[in-house]
Structures are given as structure tokens and as C-alpha cells.
């Protein structure tokens, strides 16, 4: 049996010259080579480059000096800002998004309101970026001159946080609505006939059942805010507050001064944080699918 492990895939993505004998079942896996090759070059290779460059200095040898800058006070403050912005907007987004999901889930599954909110969520969660910053600028920014003007529009974290919440809520709806839909009517009715009140249903049944999905969603939203770049780039171009901005700055200056691996080190830090968060998300998600299918 030909067994491919993930590490092998990265190491030998395209084995040219070997004629894939697709009809032989031993070699059937070679049918996935184009896919594996593509993913190897454009996903695994760049990730590998980041990790490699982060721990190699300009001399070419191992050098953890750059990595240790992750603990320097200036770099740390970017991570702290990032974590603060992500934590606030993920919790707010999750709570508000859960309320909205509940309102959507209790409606007609084929209804127009559900479709509008789902399509709108899809757009605003994935698509926003630069546009959202413009939209808020014109609504409450200092130059709006039209509607309400918020003096704190350019303050961190509340100004940018508001815009983040604007795309976090739709993402919450997208990831949390399936869990809401998974709450079976029988559970509510069983609780009711056994003598439970509405409050007791949420306290003992609905709440505990949705808790893993909710926590998982908070983690996903956290990762989402942590890695967002477009919105904050369009919001403010003078000051770097968060890690993605700093990566952007480091990357732009690298074009001039080659082989300064500041961007790689910051990216490594991001990978580490996001990996932890997403592992938590995956574990919670597994429990959710078992309960709420």
C-alpha cells in the first residue's frame, strides 16, 4: 500500500516522470498528484518558507535571534493590541451574532428574511475589507459631514473595533446558525412535558448543548480578527497598532533591504497563535457535530 503522510506531500509534491497508472489500484492515489502538487507549491511551500526564514539569519545558519524579538517589548505590544482587539470584537460579535442567529433560526427556514440575512452575512463576513472602512468613514468618520460624527472614530480599539464587530456578527451567524438549527424541537418539548420552564430549558438543555459551538465560534472569530488586514489598513495608514499591519510594514521595507526576516518572525508568531486557537475550535466543533447533527 502506498501511504502518503502530510509531511511527504510537502517534501515531494510533484514527482514528474513517473507515468501514473491510474487503473492500478496501488497507484490510484497518484490521481491526486496535480492537487497535491498545487497545494504543495502555493500553500505548504510558502508556509515552510516562513518557518524556515524565521529561524535562519542572513548568514544562512540557524539563528533564533530574530525569533527572540517576539518577546521584545515593542513586538509584544503589537501582539497585545491584536489580542485585545480580537478578544473584544470576537466576544461582542459572538454574543450579538448568537442573538441574531436565534432570531433567524426561529423563523421560516425557507423565508425571505433568512435568505437575506444569510446572503448578507456571506457578503459582509468575507467581502468587507477595504469597503467597510470606507462605509464607516462616510457614516461616522470625521470627514463624513453627513450623518453622525463620532470623535473616537480613529481611536484604538473602539473605532476600528466597531468596524470589526460589523464583520464579526455576520461571520458568527454563518458559523453558529447550523448549531442553532441543530437544536431539535423534541428536546424543547421533552423538557416541557417533563415539567421544565423556558428558563430551565436554556439552563439545562439548550445552553449546555450550544456552549461548545458558541465557544468554538468565539475562537474562530478571534482568529478572524487577528488575521484581518484590509480593514485596518484602509482605516488608518499612519500608525501600526496590530501584528498584521506590522507584517505589512516589514514586508514593504524588505523589498529594499533584502533578507531582514522581521516579517517572517511576526508571521511565525501569528501561525503559533492561530494554530492554538484553531485547534481549540476544531475540538469544540467535533463535539458540536456529534450533539447537534
Amino acid at each position: 500500500m502506498a501511504v502518503t503522510t502530510p509531511s511527504e506531500v510537502g517534501a515531494q509534491p510533484v514527482r514528474a516522470g513517473r507515468r501514473p497508472l491510474l487503473s492500478s489500484s496501488r497507484l490510484a492515489w497518484t490521481g491526486t498528484l496535480p492537487f497535491l502538487g498545487y497545494v504543495g507549491v502555493f500553500l505548504l511551500l510558502p508556509t515552510g518558507i516562513v518557518l524556515w526564514d524565521a529561524v535562519h539569519g542572513s548568514s544562512g545558519g540557524f539563528d533564533f535571534g530574530a525569533v527572540s524579538t517576539l518577546w521584545s517589548s515593542s513586538t509584544r505590544s503589537y501582539f497585545v493590541n491584536s489580542a485585545e482587539l480580537s478578544a473584544i470584537t470576537s466576544v461582542l460579535g459572538a454574543v450579538l451574532g448568537a442573538v441574531l442567529s436565534y432570531a433567524v433560526a426561529t423563523g421560516n427556514p425557507e423565508g425571505l428574511i433568512r435568505r437575506l440575512y444569510l446572503a448578507g452575512s456571506g457578503v459582509l463576513a468575507q467581502f468587507g475589507g477595504v469597503t467597510l472602512a470606507f462605509a464607516f468613514l462616510i457614516t461616522i468618520g470625521p470627514t463624513s459631514g453627513l450623518l453622525l460624527h463620532a470623535g473616537w472614530f480613529y481611536d484604538f480599539p473602539q473605532g476600528i473595533g466597531l468596524i470589526y464587530v460589523y464583520f464579526q456578527i455576520p461571520l458568527m451567524v454563518l458559523v453558529f446558525l447550523p448549531a442553532m438549527d441543530g437544536l431539535k424541537a423534541q428536546w424543547r418539548e421533552a423538557t416541557e412535558t417533563l415539567g421544565g420552564s423556558a428558563w430551565q430549558f436554556w439552563r439545562y438543555v439548550g445552553g449546555p448543548l450550544l456552549a461548545p459551538a458558541f465557544l468554538g465560534a468565539v475562537l474562530l472569530l478571534f482568529a478572524n480578527a487577528l488575521s484581518a488586514f484590509a480593514t485596518i489598513a484602509a482605516w488608518e495608514n499612519q500608525i501600526s497598532y496590530v501584528v498584521p499591519q506590522q507584517i505589512g510594514t516589514a514586508l514593504s521595507s524588505e523589498v529594499g533591504l533584502s533578507s531582514v526576516n522581521q516579517a517572517d518572525v511576526l508571521a511565525l508568531g501569528m501561525i503559533a497563535v492561530v494554530a492554538v486557537v484553531m485547534t481549540g475550535y476544531t475540538l469544540l466543533q467535533r463535539r458540536t457535530t456529534r450533539w447537534l447533527r
Binding site: 492537487f35 477595504v130 437544536l183 507584517i247 514586508l251 511576526l266 484553531m278
Partner: protein, 275 residues
């Protein structure tokens, strides 16, 4: 219509309408402000469609239309690449190498864990090679956009394949003398059209809104163009007409998706919470 249930239903409905109104306002307000500004301009008073007309003619810097063109072309190319890459792979894995399902799924979902802002750091040297060896065109972005689209396209395709009895279909076709190419593209794909369509719509919407990678790899797509327009001429009306147009376009794409992509078996047994 008396009794406790009617009362409770009224209470839930009242709650729902309050929620829909409040959230609706929150979501619509910035968008409406944007549309209003695109029609009225910062001076106020006079309404005109001129900034919508400018979408095609805005000379820059940078010129807007080229950004629109590049992005639309990228959307089409990326869709095709994603389909060519993923459709045969997903079907093939289902047909012949089921033990690879977990691996392929994990790889497809990996871009969710490796954010674009991280990916772009590692892509910089790769794109240096692409620029030197192949082409300077921003169309080269499709290579990485296809990767960004993998999680969404994979899920759409996997869902589309769920209801298809791939094994029986392929055995039937093979016994009639079809080759694997025919089996995949002419027998199975027509049965998962919905999944394919969903994958294309999601991929298209993603490309329309992408900024991070294009900007940091120094390419100019629609979002990057808008970014520079706003840096050069803050409050240019065309900024808001174009942004609104792109948002509306993506919204319509996804609304279409919600109508064509609903024939899932699971939906029929969905139960409602009504407490």
C-alpha cells in the same frame, strides 16, 4: 388564537422583529450612507448619478476601470482553476482512494488556519520568481487566489457530492465502456451541478473582495485601486459608487446561491426552536 402558545409565539415574534430591525439598521446604515454619498456628494443638496457614471471613466490616479477588469478576469480564471483542480480530485478520492479523504479535506481547510497575511510573507519570494520567469501581470494572482478559495469550494463540492451515489454511477458508466475522464466530467459532474455552481459563486465573491495579498505583493486589483483612490482623493464619490456596486454584486451572487443551493436533504428534517 388564544392560549399560551399563541401568546408565546407573539412574544417570540415581537422579539424577532425587534432584533431584525436593530441589526438591519446597524448593517444597512453604513451601506446607505455610502450609497447616499455616491449620489449626493459631500456638498449636499444636488443629487446626481455622475459618480456611478465615473466607474467606467474615472481616470485616476489610479485608473479605476483597469482594476475592475483585472478583478473580473481574475474571478473567472480563479473559478476555472479551482474547478479543474478540485472537481476531479474530490471525485477521484471518493471513487478510488477513500483513505485520502481526510488528507485532502485537511489540506483544503488549511487556508483557514494560515491567514492571508501570513501566507503572503512566504509567497513573496515565490512571486519574485513568477515575476522574473513568467509575467508581471496582476492576473498571476490567480495562483494564490485558488488556494484561498479552497476551503469554501471544497465544502460546496463535498456537499454537492454527498447526495450522489458515485460508486454506482461510475460502475454503471464503466460497464458501458466509459473511460475515467467521461465518468468524472460527463456522468458525475452533471449530477453535482449545484455544488459546482456554489463553489464558483463563493470563489467569485472571494476574488471580488480580496485586498491583502494583492496589496502586499504590489499588484493592483479592484480593492487596491479603491484603496489608492481613497488615499489620493479622500471622499471621491466614485469610491463609494464602486464600493457599493461591488458589494451589491456580491450580495446578489450569494442571494442567487441561497435560492439554487437549498435542495439539501438535511433541510427537510430541520427542526425549529420556538421557545
Amino acid at each position: 388564537m388564544t392560549g399560551l402558545h399563541a401568546r408565546r409565539r407573539r412574544r417570540v415574534n415581537a422579539f424577532r422583529y425587534v432584533v431584525f430591525t436593530v441589526f438591519g439598521l446597524f448593517f444597512l446604515l453604513p451601506l446607505l450612507a455610502m450609497i447616499r454619498f455616491s449620489l449626493e456628494g459631500s456638498t449636499g443638496g444636488s443629487w446626481s448619478l455622475s459618480s456611478w457614471g465615473q466607474i467606467a471613466s474615472y481616470a485616476g490616479p489610479p485608473p479605476l476601470l483597469s482594476g475592475v477588469e483585472i478583478t473580473l478576469e481574475l474571478a473567472v480564471i480563479t473559478c476555472l482553476v479551482v474547478l479543474a483542480l478540485l472537481v476531479p480530485t474530490v471525485i477521484w478520492v471518493r471513487l478510488r482512494v477513500r483513505w485520502m479523504t481526510r488528507l485532502v479535506e485537511a489540506l483544503c481547510l488549511l487556508p483557514l488556519t494560515i491567514p492571508a497575511i501570513v501566507l503572503v510573507v512566504g509567497l513573496a519570494p515565490i512571486y519574485r520568481v513568477i515575476r522574473q520567469q513568467f509575467s508581471l501581470s496582476a492576473l498571476q494572482l490567480f495562483w494564490v487566489y485558488a488556494v484561498l478559495a479552497l476551503p469554501y469550494a471544497y465544502r460546496a463540492l463535498a456537499a454537492g457530492l454527498e447526495g450522489v451515489d458515485v460508486k454506482t454511477l461510475s460502475e454503471a458508466a464503466r460497464s458501458l465502456g466509459a473511460g475515467w475522464f467521461t465518468v468524472i466530467w460527463r456522468v458525475i459532474v452533471p449530477n453535482m451541478r449545484q455544488g459546482v455552481l456554489n463553489a464558483m459563486l463563493l470563489t467569485g465573491a472571494l476574488v471580488l473582495g480580496e485586498f491583502t495579498i494583492a496589496y502586499l505583493l504590489l499588484y493592483t486589483n479592484l480593492q487596491v485601486t479603491l484603496f489608492y483612490v481613497s488615499r489620493g482623493t479622500p471622499n471621491a464619490g466614485v469610491l463609494f459608487s464602486t464600493s457599493s456596486a461591488a458589494l451589491l454584486f456580491a450580495f446578489v451572487l450569494l442571494l442567487i446561491l441561497s435560492y439554487v443551493g437549498r435542495a439539501r436533504g438535511r433541510q427537510s428534517e430541520r427542526s425549529k426552536v420556538s421557545k
